[in-house]
Amino acid sequence: MIEFDKVNFAYEHGETVINDLSFRIGDGESVGLIGANGAGKSTIMKLLLGLLAPQSGRILVDELAVGKKDLEAVRKKLGFVLQNSDNQMFMPTVFEDMMFAPLNYMISREEAEKRVHGVLEKLGLQYLKYKYNHKISGGEKRMAAIATVLAMEPEAILMDEPTSALDPYNRRIVINTIKDLTQTKIITSHDLDMIMDTCSRVILLSDGQIAADGETMDILSNRELLEANHMELPLSLQKR
């Protein structure tokens, strides 16, 4: 379970970005985190991963406080797909990048390789295996980044804009992959159709606070609410 309890956060020399935020996400839930540019979505993910520390409030992952003491244990549970895949991949090839986490968690090389193969096959990415990270396209890099995180087999998966930069074909693959995952999922995106396909619950953020929290269909079909937050109805709900 993931819990934010009255969390406040401001970047250095900046205004408050996260404002007294509280919510809970149960095991296996799939939650879409939406909101205008600058609403604080990426910041929430970084707080959850312990990359940023809140000025006040508590963040819990399975009863473990996200803080100095249990940070490694917390991070092992969470897989994070960064908004910018260029910053996610640092090993020379896709294969080595995918092996990185399992090997760090002391899984044997054979076992890790088996995992990596499974993930590549599932995503239809075998052709990327031995490609150099600096020689693949932006969308391929995004797919590879998702693959590296799946190879970690984390308990919960956080994705920051997973479908940006993807062509419709790969976007569909990612959506289907996300749907198949049984882990807890938190996904931020401006692609509301993708959120509609993958998430059962939506949290709408506005200025670091929750503007709405409820069933996906209730929120994504509420035109006024969305438009007040710089968004539009998902394409599939728009009448031509």
Binding site: E72, L78, F80, F90, E96, F100, N104, Y132, M152
Partner: protein, 266 residues
């Protein structure tokens, strides 16, 4: 991208060379690291006037490049922006040290010229050897081997991040110069008036990215150990290679090989 930027960008891309296959690539990382360190120490230990003594030291890198299938030209090509800096070290020696040292026909060569040449060779030889190490060994394996030799993990992590940082910075540089030229058509290079802000932006952007990269390493379980690095165990042939190399350095250092060889022909 202009020439300078292209040169920088290539410097950041050593991984591909390190992934090739050759007898040298297949050697244990520690053996290669140690032999390189010994090579550099030996080269550095030569007297600054011992030009004829240091020249045979060239044989080792030449042989190793041959074995590794990496063209020596690749090294000079990739390092073409660093090379002049290394060569510039002894450039003022001829001015300060005018003592005649050598007489060839009617030309007198001063000690300053000899020491300048020796220093230049030292720099070039060491660059060649270091480049060879990085070009034949994945950088993470070098780090793993440093850790095995009990180099403090802080230092090794710093080294690894510096290496990655160079890559990130060159990428950022390429992106920024492209963006600049698109909005300053016909301009050669970057105008002096923009240097300050350009450099500042470059540093900020690359630091931001490097920080995210490091975060991404931490999030995937990096804890200053290198279990993940590709490891080739230390075998008999690695020992043989290491001992052979060192024996060769000692031979050249203690015996005047160029005179020995010269003696054969007289």
């Amino acid at each position: 991208m202009n020439k300078m930027e292209k040169a920088l960008a290539e410097l950041g891309r050593m991984d591909e060379l390190a992934m090739q296959e050759s007898p040298v690539h297949k050697l244990n990382a520690t053996a290669k690291l140690l032999s390189t360190v010994f090579y550099i120490l030996t080269v550095m230990s030569f007297d600054k006037y011992d030009l004829s003594g240091i020249i045979p030291m060239l044989l080792w890198p030449v042989f190793m490049y041959q074995m590794s299938g990496i063209n020596i030209r690749t090294c000079f090509y990739k390092l073409r922006i660093v090379l002049p800096l290394v060569m510039a070290v002894g450039i003022f020696n001829p001015l300060f040290d005018r003592e005649p040292m050598l007489q060839i026909g009617s030309i007198t060569i001063s000690g300053g010229v000899i020491s300048m040449l020796t220093l230049m060779l030292k720099g070039v030889f060491c660059l060649m050897a270091s480049f060879l190490l990085v070009a034949t060994t994945p950088f993470d394996s070098i780090c793993a081997s440093l850790r095995r030799m009990h180099v403090p993990s802080m230092l090794v992590t710093l080294l690894l991040l510096t290496y990655r940082y160079v890559g990130v910075m060159t990428e950022e540089l390429a992106i920024m110069t492209d963006a600049y030229h698109l909005r300053a058509p016909g301009q050669k290079g970057i105008h002096v008036s923009a240097w300050g802000s350009f450099l500042g932006q470059l540093l900020l952007r690359s630091m931001d990215r490097a920080q995210e990269l490091y975060a991404s390493m931490l999030l995937r379980g990096y804890h200053q150990h290198f279990h993940y690095a590709y490891h080739i165990p230390f075998r008999g042939k690695d020992a043989a290679y290491l001992i052979g190399s060192c024996a060769f350095f000692v031979l050249i250092k203690w015996f005047d090989v160029s005179q020995l060889i010269g003696g054969l022909f007289v």
